[in-house]
């Protein structure tokens, strides 16, 4: 399909997907609306593929815009780089919509919610397609408003939804304001709003730095970079899971796209730009993974893990910028490819994880890991898909996450710090941060997967899923969504070569070669990865063990034994196993200072006997330290300001009249001067 055709098709499909929920009867609403949204997503993928091939096309929208000087027409013209994000947003949106057909129920399956989902998807598709500031900001706002409506879906059931939505709305509009200011600086300098014109102006100097800071902060808010991440751990758990998947896997990527766009619009800047990105990325990665490791709310954990992964992406971008400035273009290109690989892989595995979490929530009504367990027996599809997603998140071979982090480490290892002291110090530190992040990530997802699926069920609902109150059977679309997203995590890892080459071409960088059918090589740094060979190696190690096991099983069939005298050898009860909280306890101990845990231990004694213990209760509350120390003081100050405003607004009509009177006198005085 040619470029403008694909864009027009996306707009038409969006119109249909937004209208369908209002036109269909209740019974068919979810299948038809979800199907229409999924088609819209696939349309986005098609447009993205066309754009990546350089045939993005140009579509000028006939929007009525006040004819002001310096305002270029509203145009959609996806670049190859935008194409990558179109594919990501479209693919994730389609999968989540498909999953949502079976998953959404209650308010999440209402007309408003499905319509908002289609609008949200359209916003995400228009952002990377926008070719000027105005259309970009319009699409951005569409995305923000529609997602706010979606987060709000369950507000009648859970009161926490409202406060989460409030946080989200405030942060997302903060982001919009910062972007508006940043783009205004750029547009004023370039004399127009088209990205082409702004890029041609090659802004530099203090104005460029101001725009850079504003835009990176604005996009960082959307991307969930620490310390602007506070909306993520609130909004993601409260939104319906397919929406969380779309928000986490696709929407936060628009922040990353924005940072890439910013770098493309500005001339190479001072060294602190790259350094700033690197610091921001490393801080997000570390803080995100640390919070994820100690959280036992499954969706909150995934939200923090999003912060972590975006942190890694921005770290890769920072390394790319830093090395590019230092003249090491070839290594910088590896870092940029790593960033894009991270984007794609995070989109794949976070979709699988959030859909898996949604599936767990759907059948048990629980998202607290401390109350889950044993789901591998009852829900194998969910277990496998979530497991594959977890493997991707922990960068185990041979998933897409592994390929991406391997490339990132190559860039870090091969960066040459001999000429520049700053690079010499930061690259090894960044490497350490990445290593620590990956390690803690492993811990996080071992906890998440093993305790939810392998451990013994810790609650009635977990033990008897599907019978829990208000839960529903898995529909075929949910299983399909889970399987496809899980398979994608592995498939993208196997297709490391073709994927890397395509991403590098879209980003306009070289230095990547395909080796054989699937392998990838970076001649500039002299490294090579062959997924097929890696798999063969893994099989060569695993097959003998499996064979040995099989032989043993035949020779000595397993017998269940009940020990007459237990002495601790009896089969463990759920209370004797690790909980999510106890598994992460050593971490809380080590990082106590930055986690600030509040613990409460109550020991109850039977009456009249202080030596015996009848009951022990333990509870632990972890707070987001950044939220406590940075945001709440601001909130309190705003409230104080609001209280102070009562001096002005006290309900006395005399005072209001006095304001008008003074204003009148002032106007008269000004006029007469």
């Amino acid at each position: 399909m040619s470029g403008p055709g694909a864009l027009l098709a996306v707009l038409a499909l969006a119109g249909v997907a937004i209208a369908v929920p209002w036109l269909t009867p209740d019974r068919l609403r979810s299948p038809l609306s979800g199907g229409a949204s999924a088609l819209l997503g696939l349309g986005g993928v098609a447009a993205g593929v066309a754009a990546m091939g350089g045939a993005g096309g140009v579509l000028t929208l006939p929007l009525v815009v006040p004819a002001t000087a310096g305002l270029d027409p509203v145009t959609l013209a996806p670049t190859p780089l935008g194409g990558v994000f179109l594919v990501v947003a479209g693919g994730v949106g389609a999968l989540a919509a498909f999953f949502g057909i079976g998953y959404a129920h209650g308010p999440a399956a209402s007309r408003t919610a499905w319509s908002a989902y289609a609008a949200f998807l359209l916003g995400m598709l228009l952002v990377p397609a926008a070719a000027d500031v105005l259309s970009f900001l319009l699409a951005w706002e569409l995305m923000a408003v529609a997602s706010t409506v979606l987060v709000l879906a369950d507000h009648a059931v859970r009161p926490t939804v409202r406060s989460a939505t409030l946080w989200y709305a405030v942060m997302t509009h903060l982001s919009f304001l910062l972007l508006l200011a940043g783009f205004a600086v750029l547009a004023a300098g370039a004399g127009g709003t088209a990205f082409e014109r702004i890029a041609a102006a090659q802004a530099s100097g203090p104005a460029a730095s101001v725009a850079f800071v504003l835009l990176v902060l604005g996009f960082g808010t959307k991307a969930g970079l620490v310390p602007l991440h506070v909306w993520l751990p609130r909004a993601h758990p409260e939104a319906p899971s397919h929406v969380s998947a779309a928000m986490s896997a696709a929407m936060v990527k628009m922040g990353v796209y924005g940072i890439l766009l910013t770098l493309g619009l500005l001339a190479p800047g001072p060294q602190w730009w790259g350094f700033g990105l690197l610091v921001l990325g490393c801080a997000s990665a570390l803080y995100g993974v640390l919070q994820a490791a100690v959280n036992s709310d499954l969706k909150r954990l995934l939200a923090y893990s999003t912060s972590e992964n975006v942190g890694l992406i921005v770290t890769a971008l920072g390394v790319g910028v830093l090395l590019g400035d230092a003249g090491q273009r070839r290594v910088a290109e590896v870092a940029i490819v790593a960033a894009l690989l991270l984007v794609v892989s995070h989109a794949a595995f976070k979709t699988a994880l959030f859909l898996g979490a949604g599936s767990i929530l759907h059948v048990t009504g629980e998202r607290d890991l401390d109350r889950l367990g044993g789901l591998v027996h009852t829900h194998p599809f969910t277990a496998i898909s979530f497991g594959l997603g977890a493997m991707g998140a922990t960068a185990l071979p041979i998933t897409s996450g592994f390929v991406a982090e391997w490339v990132l480490l190559q860039a870090l290892v091969h960066g040459d710090g001999r000429a520049d002291r700053l690079i010499a110090v930061t690259l090894p530190l960044a490497m350490g941060v990445v290593a620590l992040t990956v390690g803690l990530g492993l811990l996080t997802f071992v906890k998440a997967w093993a305790i939810a699926f392998l451990a013994r069920p810790r609650s009635e609902r977990a033990a008897n899923p599907d019978h829990a109150q208000g839960s529903h059977d898995h529909s075929i679309t949910m299983i399909a969504g889970l399987v496809v997203s899980g398979a994608l995590v592995v498939a993208l890892g196997f297709a490391a070569g073709p994927l890397s080459v395509e991403l590098a071409r879209a980003a306009g960088v070289g230095g990547v070669e395909r080796v054989g059918l699937l392998g990838v090589a970076f001649p500039a740094v002299g490294v090579l990865l062959e997924p097929a060979a890696l798999t063969l190696l893994a099989l060569a190690i695993a097959v003998p063990f499996a064979a040995y096991n099989a032989v043993l099983r035949v020779r000595r069939p397993r017998r269940d034994t009940e020990l007459p005298w237990g002495c601790g050898g009896v089969r463990t009860s759920p209370r004797m196993e690790y909980t999510a909280t106890s598994y992460a306890e050593p971490l809380v101990r080590i990082f106590g200072a930055s986690l600030d845990p509040t613990r409460q231990l109550t020991v109850e004694h039977p009456e009249g006997n202080p030596l015996l213990v009848s009951r022990v209760t333990f509870s632990q509350r972890l707070v987001d330290v950044i939220e406590q120390r940075a945001y709440l003081p601001v909130k309190r100050a705003v409230l104080r300001l609001g209280d102070a405003a009562r001096l002005v607004q006290n309900g006395s009509i005399h005072r209001y009249l006095a304001f008008s009177f003074v204003a009148l006198l002032l106007v008269l005085a000004v006029v007469s001067l």
Binding site: L657, L664, L668
Partner: protein, 219 residues
């Protein structure tokens, strides 16, 4: 009408306008300031009639009649009736402070003279020369509105303010188009009638319309 006569009549009517406004600021009696409104409305009607005859705009003459009927007749009557209905206690407004009121009146009138210079221009007509009175009336009306506590006396302030606006309009431009003037008049009429109904109801509900007692904000 001779030029001199017109000039003297304008001076007389605007003088009356200013005098009544200042007196209203000075008086504490609610009914007294309502009575002064009659004089003020008549003066305004006279001013409009004078300008109409002097500039031979006969439409404005009709306007003068309407103004006389409404501002010197109906509105003061409606206010007086409201005052009786609501049984304004002892007929005095606790917000009125004669001494400081007069002082402020002097100040505001001076301000009006100073700020109206640009409106008058270098070669003023007789009417334009009196523009400061109109503006002073606006400011004094505002001051009454601002300081009085009882609803009826606030309405008096509102009407003085409106008289000021009308006077300024006529003095500057010889009157606005008839439809606009009538529209404004009926707006004022509506405001007064609605507030009258509200005032009566408020008195029934709360036993008074003293504003300091009615200042709790509710969501």
């Amino acid at each position: 009408m001779s030029h001199d006569l017109a000039a003297q009549l304008i001076a007389l009517t605007t003088g009356l306008l200013l005098l009544t406004a200042v007196q209203q600021l000075w008086l504490r009696s609610v009914l007294g300031s309502v009575a002064l409104l009659v004089v003020q409305g008549a003066a305004l009607a006279g001013l409009v009639a004078t300008i109409a005859v002097a500039e031979q705009e006969w439409e404005a003459l009709a306007m003068a009649v309407v103004i006389l009927a409404l501002k010197a007749g109906f509105l003061p009557w409606a206010l007086a009736r409201t005052a009786t209905l609501t049984r304004v206690h002892d007929g005095l407004d606790p917000g009125a402070r004669p001494a400081s009121g007069l002082l402020l009146a002097v100040l505001l009138t001076t301000v009006a003279y100073v700020v109206s210079q640009p409106l008058i221009g270098p070669n003023p007509t007789d009417a334009a020369r009196a523009v400061p009175v109109g503006i002073a009336l606006v400011l004094l009306g505002f001051l009454i509105l601002l300081t009085r506590h009882i609803a009826v006396s606030q309405l008096v302030g509102f009407l003085v303010l409106d008289n000021g606006i009308a006077a300024t309009g006529f003095l500057v431009s010889g009157g606005l188009p008839l439809t606009t003037e009538i529209g404004v008049l009926f707006d004022v009429l509506l405001v007064v009638l609605i507030l009258r109904v509200l005032t009566v109801r408020m008195v029934r509900l709360t036993g008074g319309t003293s504003l300091p007692e009615l200042r709790e904000l509710r969501d």
